[in-house]
């Protein structure tokens, strides 16, 4: 009976696909790694995804991706990766040149991708004018499955990751209004952004909420080292970027001011204190197609910290909380990838297609890249990663060197080999965490 039902569903989807011009398919991804740190020496996951989409060239299109993931930590995880109605309309002579929107589960990102770059359920709409692009995005993160969410801003968020009973990610409302002015002067692009995230845990808290993740109330007199309250934050950003003169060297620079509120235990009582933080950074990159498609890039970011911060999440103990707290986690190194708070890093990278001179199409697209990232903390306060010696005063955390080879010989087959080496500063990390960390990872992807 079950088999018959599955067959009917498959035939129905295939029928719809052929009748209405849908395209659907399967993709399989596999990743295997060995490393010298963490709980497991050997890591492995497989992901099988079913995708479906309508003609994206039409004004209205629909896409869906559902996936099953197997990993050594979890034998099964079913999730909806993408579920979106997308619209793009060209308008008349008056008003904006085009209007576009996304409704459903989509990737919500700020212009740097460093404050937030995460899936969210909601909507986004944008108006394109000849001189500017105005975009407003809203999303809710409380329907995402916990293992697929990196939205962690509070102690309760962090505690929830270890409680099996809790299946969903942090319930937060994220909103952004961004205005981009392309080619405003000398081909320079300017972006202004105002972003907020609102902690909705207090709304969703009920009698079934496990006691260990119940929010602390303002005015609470007893001290709870593990517990915390709501964290709400706002970010106001300015970015500039474009080519340097008439060269093929491009640069970008940005600044974000972070505000908000966080619960702090001051004078034997929990009170909400203000967040006043910042994130700034930028980079330059040079691309030369004639030189084996070489890309050389230098970049870096400085995220403010707080020397009196005892733990990374809600660890403020005095005055204003000055550690920058991004909404989602960005990937920096293969091994060492702290959240962008109380962190300063520089990154130098070089990538090329060494076999692009060959006539053979099969190997032309093979890409090799290498990057080095020295990490520092901006104050002696806490960072998001474990293993820091609380008594150390050194700011230098260590350097990571990563290399990768990616090879996509066919449209439906891709492979990648990545190697990472992190050399921690022994003066900052506790003894058990101060050794060299190594990672080797092999990835395959197949599209059916």
């Amino acid at each position: 009976m079950k088999k018959k039902f599955s067959l009917i569903i498959i035939l129905f989807v295939l029928g719809i696909s052929l009748s209405f011009g849908f395209d659907l398919g399967l993709s399989a991804d596999n990743s295997t790694s060995i490393n010298t740190y963490g709980e497991r020496f050997f890591g492995h996951w497989d992901k099988l995804a079913l995708w479906l989409r309508t003609n994206r060239e039409k004004p209205l299109s629909f896409s869906f991706t559902g996936s099953y993931t197997f990993s050594l930590e979890r034998p099964y995880l079913f999730d909806v990766d993408d579920l979106r109605l997308k619209g793009k309309f060209l308008s008349g002579l008056k008003g904006p040149a085009s209007f576009e929107f996304d409704i459903g589960r989509y990737q919500l990102s700020d212009f740097t991708g460093l404050v937030v770059s995460h899936k969210a359920d909601g909507f986004r709409f944008g108006f394109r004018y000849p001189f500017a692009y105005v975009e407003a995005s809203f999303g809710f993160t409380g329907l995402l499955l916990k293992p697929n969410s990196t939205v962690i801003l509070s102690r309760v968020d962090a505690l929830s990751t270890g409680i099996d009973k809790i299946k969903l990610g942090s319930p937060r409302l994220i909103g952004e209004l961004a205005v981009q002015f392309p080619g405003l002067f000398l081909r320079q692009n300017i972006t202004l952004s105002a972003l907020f995230q609102e902690d909705l845990r207090s709304t969703f808290q009920n009698v079934n909420t496990p006691p260990e993740v119940k929010l602390l109330e303002e005015g609470e007199k007893s001290y709870y080292p593990e517990k915390g309250g709501s964290v709400d934050s706002q970010y106001f950003g300015l970015g500039i970027g474009g080519p340097i003169g008439g060269t093929s060297i491009y640069y970008d620079a940005f600044f974000y001011l972070g505000t908000g509120r966080t619960l702090t235990y001051i004078e034997n009582m929990y009170t909400y204190t203000s967040i006043f933080s910042y994130l700034t950074g930028g980079g330059v990159r040079y691309y030369n197609e004639a030189l084996l498609f070489s890309t050389i890039a230098l970049s870096g970011a400085f995220a403010s910290g707080d020397s009196d911060q005892m733990t990374f999440f809600e660890g403020n103990t005095q005055g204003k909380a000055t550690t920058f707290t991004p909404v989602s986690k960005s990937t920096l190194g293969l091994i060492f990838s702290p959240r962008l708070g109380n962190i300063f890093y520089l990154q130098a990278s070089y990538g090329l297609k060494p076999l692009s001179i060959l006539k053979n199409d099969l190997f032309k697209e093979l890409q090799v890249s290498v990057k080095g990232i020295p990490f520092f903390r901006t104050t002696t306060g806490s960072i998001s990663e474990a293993g820091i010696d609380k008594t150390s005063t050194d700011k230098y955390l260590g350097t990571e060197i990563d290399g990768s080879v990616s090879f996509r010989p066919f449209s439906d087959l891709g492979a990648g080999l990545s190697v990472g080496l992190f050399m921690p500063n022994e003066k900052v990390f506790i003894e058990e965490m101060s050794g060299l960390r190594f990672l080797l990872r092999l990835d395959f992807s197949l599209l059916f």
Binding site: S17, L18, G21, F22, D23, R53, T54, N55, R56, E57, K58, K359, D361, F410, S411, D412, L413, L446, L447, F448
Partner: protein, 151 residues
């Protein structure tokens, strides 16, 4: 808009000079089609690949693709062609190699994916959508350009 015009203009002239003179009339009328049709696309692809002579008709082109087994169900020359079918014609006519799935199944679905991967199709490379005459010309132009460069 200016950029788009220039690109079509360049590809148009690339095709005009690389194809037999009689094909130019078909090329002109194909460019005007909102939905590219089987007859014109088949004729253009097959004549560009040198499979049919330049004085052949759209019907001759359709007959040739049926004879070669590249299309099983008969189609009217004025019937809109899907992107997958058009890509499959190009892959077969120019004997292009595809990925693993294309090598196994030899189907339109994987043909359009392959042309998308190679950059000949820009935008959605879904096999089941229709395409404009202008897009059909652009795709064929890029294939011919690439064939010329890789010779």
């Amino acid at each position: 808009m200016k950029k788009r015009f220039l690109l079509v203009f360049t590809l148009y002239f690339y095709l005009v000079f690389s194809m037999p003179a009689q094909s130019n009339a078909v090329l002109d009328s194909l460019l005007e089609e909102e939905k590219a049709t089987w007859g014109k696309c088949s004729y253009l692809v097959l004549s560009a690949a040198g499979i049919i002579p330049e004085d052949a008709s759209e019907e001759d082109a359709m007959r040739t693709i049926m004879e070669r087994g590249w299309q099983r169900r008969e189609k009217a020359t004025d019937e809109p062609i899907k992107l997958g079918r058009y890509s499959f014609l190009i892959m077969q006519a120019f004997d292009l190699k595809g990925g693993i799935m294309y090598t196994i199944f030899r189907s339109p679905r994987y043909a359009s994916r392959e042309l998308g991967f190679k950059g000949f199709i820009r935008g959605d490379s879904g096999a089941y959508r229709t395409l404009t005459g202008e897009e059909a010309v652009r795709i064929l132009g890029r294939v011919l350009e690439w064939k010329g460069a890789s010779r």
